[in-house]
């Protein structure tokens, strides 16, 4: 089938250099867990021949907090804030995934107004997550300035979150069955201001990087992965779309109110770091389109569905997944009828995408490992759970 599966994926199965020449400078280098470019506590063991990477092995688990074990000892509502701590960069979409999973388990539907609010906040969060990715990714490759531009603009989004639910990062914005808070007075005005404020800012980022000769040199044909390999390795999100696979859960299996908005799915052609950059930049623009339609068309009505005070879903198990900024974020909940989930499994996109690092990096140079880790956009909170 695809070439990836027949090559057994044992770690560090390196094609050993031919023995005729004893390699005098074969280094095994530890990158991490304290390393400026590993986006958190990820340790990558690199086997180098000079500068070329022969193979890598990721050692993870430094940030493992046992979220799934905790879930089994918390009630459904109590567990809600834990979910924000996994992918702390895109906390809102974690919350959305979890609440929708439990609603599906309980066969309850959130009211339309709540769905619209959820879509607006999730798309804002997607933009914020992509901004943070762009800033840190550009910094790893050496361009210092985009970091400050992106963080300055991300402030606007975080202000909206803070006004809406009081928190900037771990927002805990949604409840099972709908939203906790009605939108504050100037919500539509703030979002509309943001919609006007942000497009020229994206043009600023693109002016800085898209046609920047050195940026092209550092990202073109780096960390190439084909669509088939992506599917085989379970890679989802912008990385998959950059390899040419037109698949986005918001379109494939619409949830919340996504079916009511029209937006395109940007895809790349040859699955290299530059295409992933273009895809994420285009995604930011598409999110703006969604927010615009959502803000203009937000219906009136209740924001909380008919959900009992104490949530005791019926016995059974369901799997529900949403399109988080990093990829498919899934919740597999087994309920035994009690108020606490019997088993709650989180399928994190970063954890599965990180597995593709070894394939993408083989044969590249050390400087590219940093670029590829950046382009995978992994968050260690989600990888280690």
């Amino acid at each position: 089938m695809n070439d990836v599966s027949n090559r057994a994926l044992s770690n560090l199965d390196l094609e050993t250099p031919d023995k005729t020449y004893l390699d005098s400078n074969e280094l095994v280098i530890n990158m991490g867990p304290q390393h400026p470019a590993t986006h958190g506590v990820l340790r990558v063991i690199l086997k180098l021949d000079g500068e070329k990477v022969l193979g890598t092995e990721c050692v993870i688990g430094y940030l493992h907090r046992g979220v799934e074990k905790i879930a089994e000892n918390r009630t459904y509502t109590m567990f809600n804030p834990y979910v924000d701590r996994m992918d702390y960069v895109a906390a809102v979409s974690n919350g959305l995934g979890y609440c929708e999973a439990v609603e599906k388990l309980m066969n309850v539907e959130a009211p339309p107004r709540a769905k619209y609010i959820r879509v607006i906040l999730t798309e804002l969060n997607r933009i914020a997550s992509h901004q943070l990715w762009l800033g840190t990714h550009a910094l790893d490759i050496g361009a210092m300035t985009p970091l400050f531009y992106t963080f300055r603009d991300r402030e606007e989004i975080l202000k909206i979150f803070e006004r809406y639910c009081g928190a900037r990062l771990t927002t805990h914005a949604f409840r099972i069955g709908g939203c906790q808070y009605e939108t504050y007075a100037g919500f539509e005005k703030d979002v509309k201001n943001f919609l006007a404020f942000f497009p020229p800012k994206i043009d600023e980022y693109e002016a800085l990087l898209t046609t920047n000769r050195i940026w092209l040199e550092r990202t073109k044909n780096v960390g190439v992965i084909s669509g088939a390999d992506c599917i085989a390795l379970g890679v989802t999100g912008p990385v998959l779309r950059a390899s040419g696979v037109q698949w986005d859960l918001r379109k494939a299996q619409p949830y919340a109110a996504y079916s009511e908005f029209d937006f395109e799915i940007p895809i790349g052609t040859n699955g290299d770091t530059y295409d992933r950059y273009l895809v994420r930049m285009a995604e930011m623009r598409q999110s703006l389109r969604i927010i615009e339609q959502a803000v203009n068309g937000i219906p009136e009505g209740p924001i909380m569905g008919k959900v009992p005070k104490v949530i005791k879903p019926p016995v059974g198990e369901i799997y529900h997944s949403i399109e988080a900024p990093k990829g498919e974020l899934g919740y597999f909940i087994v309920s035994d009828g009690s108020t606490q989930p019997y088993r709650l499994r989180v399928r994190p996109p970063s954890f599965v995408n990180l597995q593709a690092l070894d394939i993408m990096v083989r044969g590249l140079l050390v400087a590219d490992v940093v670029a590829v880790i950046g382009t995978l956009d992994i968050v260690l909170g989600e990888v280690d759970r």
Binding site: L27, A138, G142, M144, T145, F148, R218, V366, A367
Partner: protein
């Protein structure tokens, strides 16, 4: 003894040449102090300019607008603990920054700030400069090795390979500039730096504009090579934070580390002053031959005064806009004093310019010329410094193999090509 001192004042030859060790020593001290002050200002300017590129304010806390920040940094570095890794090689670890510093500063003996304002006018000026700048590589290589750990070793190997390969391109670009000096009547070129500037004066054109595209291409090659030579901006592979943590000076700390920084900035200033000397007509003011009417001389001689006046005005505006509450009182006074100082210098310079204008042949005129030479030279070097900062703000970093590819496959052939074409055109023209 006094005539030994005064004897030199009248002569129009550099102290080194006039065999006057005493004045040579004074020039060396002046240049050493001048470069250190320039490095300190450069540190402040780099942080502020970089900050304003990146939509932030930069150091604002220490002194008005962070003016005392470099001094604070220097003090901090001196007080910081100077750690030497356990199995590092004590002697080599100690000597490495000194080699780097030695290489960076000895280049200044040859750089002319004026027809007679240079430590010594060696007739192999350029050759000496190229030689000493290649010694800088040794400092870095040995530093990387002495720290006895993986990352500095790789950083040292990388930066030495990078500097050696760009030195070749730089050397060839310099040769094509020197070739242009020999296109005068006598047909004998010169290696001495002062000679080169005088050649540009005689030929009435800066070498960057000579045989239009050629001079410019050679200049651009040199400009790129000098950025790579000092491990800066897009070519800062050696201390690429994201991969090798800090490259060759990872294990250094405290004063020793600041020596490396001093050496890096000094090398930056040195290399850009060589570029200025070779291509932008060293200390000559713009359009020396075209607008050489005394009126024009006077106008151009006003520039130093006007620049300082401008700086003083900016400082005064700064004090005015400073918020009123008490915390800023000291800073306000400090800035006001600084502004007054700048204003005073501005007036002084204007006075000299005016005096020079009317009392032509007197000492005042020679003194005014001296100031003009230094002013124009420093202005041009400042432009280069701004370019360094600009590169650092906008460009991401080249990967190491791309860097080498450019060095060998792009820069070297082009600089060879420029050299050959310059030679041919030179033969045709003369």
């Amino acid at each position: 003894m006094p005539n030994f001192i005064m004897s030199y004042l009248g002569s129009t030859v550099t102290p080194g040449e006039a065999g006057n060790q005493f004045w040579a020593l004074i020039y060396v001290l002046i240049i050493f102090a001048g470069v250190s002050v320039a490095v300190i200002c450069m540190n402040w300017i780099e942080r502020k300019a970089l900050a304003h590129f990146q939509v932030r304010l930069g150091p604002m806390r220490v002194g008005p607008h962070g003016l005392l920040q470099p001094i604070a940094d220097a003090l901090k570095l001196m007080l910081k603990e100077d750690i030497i890794p356990s199995e590092a090689d004590q002697f080599v670890f100690w000597v490495a920054p000194l080699i780097g510093l030695l290489a960076a500063f000895t280049v200044y003996t040859v750089i002319p700030f004026g027809p007679s304002q240079a430590v010594s006018d060696m007739n192999i000026g350029i050759l000496f400069m190229l030689g000493v700048s290649s010694l800088g590589v040794l400092g870095i290589v040995v530093a990387g090795w002495a720290s006895n750990s993986h990352y500095p070793l790789i950083g040292a190997l990388r930066s030495s390979a990078q500097m050696v390969s760009y030195e070749v391109a730089m050397g060839l670009a310099v040769v094509s500039a020197i070739l242009m000096t020999s296109l005068n009547a006598s047909g004998t070129g010169t290696l001495s730096m002062i000679g080169i500037v005088q050649a540009q004066q005689q030929q009435g054109v800066w070498f960057i504009f000579k045989f239009f595209p050629l001079g410019l291409i050679a200049f651009v090659i040199f400009a790129i090579a000098m950025v790579a030579e000092t491990n800066r901006a897009p070519f800062d592979m050696a201390e690429a934070e994201s991969e090798l943590t800090a490259g060759y000076h990872t294990e250094y700390s405290g004063l020793r580390w600041s020596l490396f920084m001093l050496a890096e900035y000094a090398a930056m200033i040195a290399v850009s002053s060589i570029a200025v000397t070779l291509w932008l007509g060293g200390w000559m003011r713009p359009f020396p031959n075209l607008l050489n009417a005394p009126a024009w001389d006077f106008i151009f001689s006003l520039f130093p005064g006007l620049t300082f006046l401008g700086l003083a005005a900016i400082a005064f505006v700064g004090t005015a806009r400073m918020p009123a509450d008490s915390f800023f009182k000291i800073q306000r006074i400090g800035l006001a004093v600084f502004a007054a100082l700048l204003g005073f210098i501005a007036l002084l310079l204007l006075a000299i310019a005016v005096a020079g204008r009317f009392a032509d042949a007197s000492v005042g005129a020679r003194f005014r010329d001296g100031i003009d030479y230094i002013y124009w030279f420093v202005l041009k070097v400042a432009v280069f410094m701004y370019l360094f900062i600009w590169y650092r703000a906008t460009w991401p970093r080249y990967r190491f193999d791309q860097l080498m590819k450019i060095g060998w496959k792009v820069m070297l052939p082009i600089s060879l090509g420029v050299l050959v074409v310059t030679a041919i055109v030179g033969v045709i023209v003369s």
